[in-house]
Assembly symmetry: C2
Homo-oligomer: 306 residues x 2
DNA sequence: ATAATGTCTTTTATCGTAAAAAAACATTTG
DNA sequence: CAAATGTTTTTTTACGATAAAAGACATTAT
């Protein structure tokens, strides 16, 4: 079972959706571009679609015969990449009770538990190590440093440093820059979400990420941009498994974002700094609340540094 | 040729040095602790030493018979770990002429050229990717982003942000903290080096790293501390393969460090910031000079931000 | 003659496996 | 009986092999 064909299956599912919208599929290279896969995979998809009576396929002609049914799709769990599977499984352990700092991580055991080869687990751990939650002992095991209060504070500090700098760079961008349009669009989305927050609050997470990534992109610094991956990862799993108070948290955050956006549009550096700091302070508290040691006030000093 | 025994060979060589100083080797666990290897490896070493007539070994008794000769040592190149070999080889290509941004990196080709398995190369590239010089295309090749002027500037910006913050945290540490002793010791070493700079300037590189790591440690932030790995990596290879003007560069840097140390000891935040900025500005210029597009003045704005 | 399709080659992703090294357990010694 | 040695088991490190996926080359159709 050398390698799963999840790329093919996932692309196949996404391609099924395209059938609902057209009566003729485009050329192989074009399809490949839209689906983000190679022509080899595209041809595999087309072959199966023809076989299952979804299309007729003869050279350039790819005519849609029928709309896909539920049973035409591959099951969702077969479309995940191996690294996603490992990541989810690992994060579940990490954020579960009993994941104490100092614990050892055993590659072989992890691999056996998840049912994958050790190589994939190793590669995942190496990639994951840049998040600062685990550490390698040379020629030996990994050590879990834990999702602790200290981690949350260190993360929040860097985030604040980076985002304040990015926000300052943002307002310095010329008026005809693309970012202002992007910001307008995000503002509209925020307002729409705010109007129906009671039902749509779970959508905030994704909007939040897009908003902050836009701001960070203004820094034009790869280390700042890349650092958002750490934040994103932590928040992603955090939101997924810790739903307590989620609605009110998101409601507050949307309001803070709108104030932040208004400040950015005013291009007043002082206002921006204030709005940014305000939002990041409450984000920091949210994160702290979710740590095992959490629910303590923020030491006043921390916010004043920089 | 599943796995090389470089850990054993390296530890063996280091253990030979111990023979020069004592007539009796300590217990197996103690030896393991000093050499940083497991008892399994220690016993392997002892067995070979006994076999080669360097010691007699009977249970607790490990008597030294003779001082090691040149030919007792394993050749140096056999003591390098695979990842070191790959790293060196990769960095040579990276910093050589013709390593243009946008180039593709081929795992298989790299592995064949270096003469190692693909897994090791993959793992190296994943680890290396956090330095921001390469990027992965999903299910496909890596892309070289290049050691460009942009890279150097982005690196220097973050370094400045982090070091200014660390230096500020440093002077806020209580007077009885260990760091002041460490700083005193570093100062002494700097003075000694300065006195004989003409001969000893190549030793600066290592001192430089220890000094900056001490300052960064005061931040108590793992992301700041870890970021120094990026700087360290770049400077390490940079110094190794770009010796032009090295002596004068190091001479300047030593002087800047001494001023910086004096500022830290004064505990005057303004003086510290000034000395720190001054040093980092010249370090930035050194780095810029070494990029292919280098040798241009620093844009004035850059230093004023933050 | 450009862009698509058809075919073949190369590279990546992943596993099983084996040696090196670490770690755990059992036994002896001071 | 605590710490060292002797022995066995487990884990890490690394390779070669193989299916999936990408990419390159050859051919055909508009």
């Amino acid at each position: 079972m050398s390698k799963s064909n999840n790329v093919y299956k996932d692309a196949y599912n996404r391609c099924l959706r395209l059938l609902e919208e057209t009566s003729n599929l485009p050329s192989e290279p074009e399809l490949g571009a839209t689906l983000g896969v190679s022509r080899t995979t595209v041809r595999g998809i087309l072959a199966r679609m023809a076989e299952n009576g979804l299309i007729t396929w003869d050279k350039r002609d790819k005519t849609v015969l029928r709309v896909p049914k539920e049973e035409d799709f591959f099951p969702e769990e077969e479309t995940d990449s191996l690294s996603q599977i490992i990541e989810r499984s690992f994060m579940r352990r990490l954020l579960a009770e009993g994941a104490e700092a100092g614990m050892q991580i055993n590659e072989l055991e992890l691999a056996r538990d998840i049912g994958v080869g050790t190589t994939s687990v190793r590669e995942f751990l190496i990639r994951f190590s840049r998040f600062g939650l685990i550490e390698k002992r040379r020629n030996s095991h990994w050590v879990l440093k834990g999702f602790t209060r200290a981690f949350a504070l260190e993360l929040a500090d860097i985030r604040e440093m980076f985002e304040l700098r990015s926000a300052a760079a943002f307002v310095a961008l010329p008026g005809d820059s693309q970012v202002w349009d992007d910001l307008d669009r995000l503002e509209t989305e925020h307002r729409a979400l705010a109007r129906d927050i009671a039902n749509r609050y779970p959508e905030f997470s994704e909007l939040d990420e897009r908003f902050h990534r836009l701001i960070h992109s203004a820094s034009h610094n790869r280390f700042i941009v890349d650092f958002y991956d750490v934040i994103s990862m932590i928040f992603h799993y955090h939101y997924q498994w810790n739903k307590a108070g989620q609605r009110s948290r998101n409601e507050t955050a949307v309001a803070e974002h709108l104030a932040y956006i208004a400040a950015l549009k005013s291009r007043d550096a002082a206002k921006v700094e204030d709005a940014c700091r305000r939002h990041l302070t409450s984000a920091r508290q949210t994160l702290l609340d979710s740590t095992p040691e959490g629910r303590q006030a923020i030491p006043a000093k921390r916010n004043k540094t920089l």
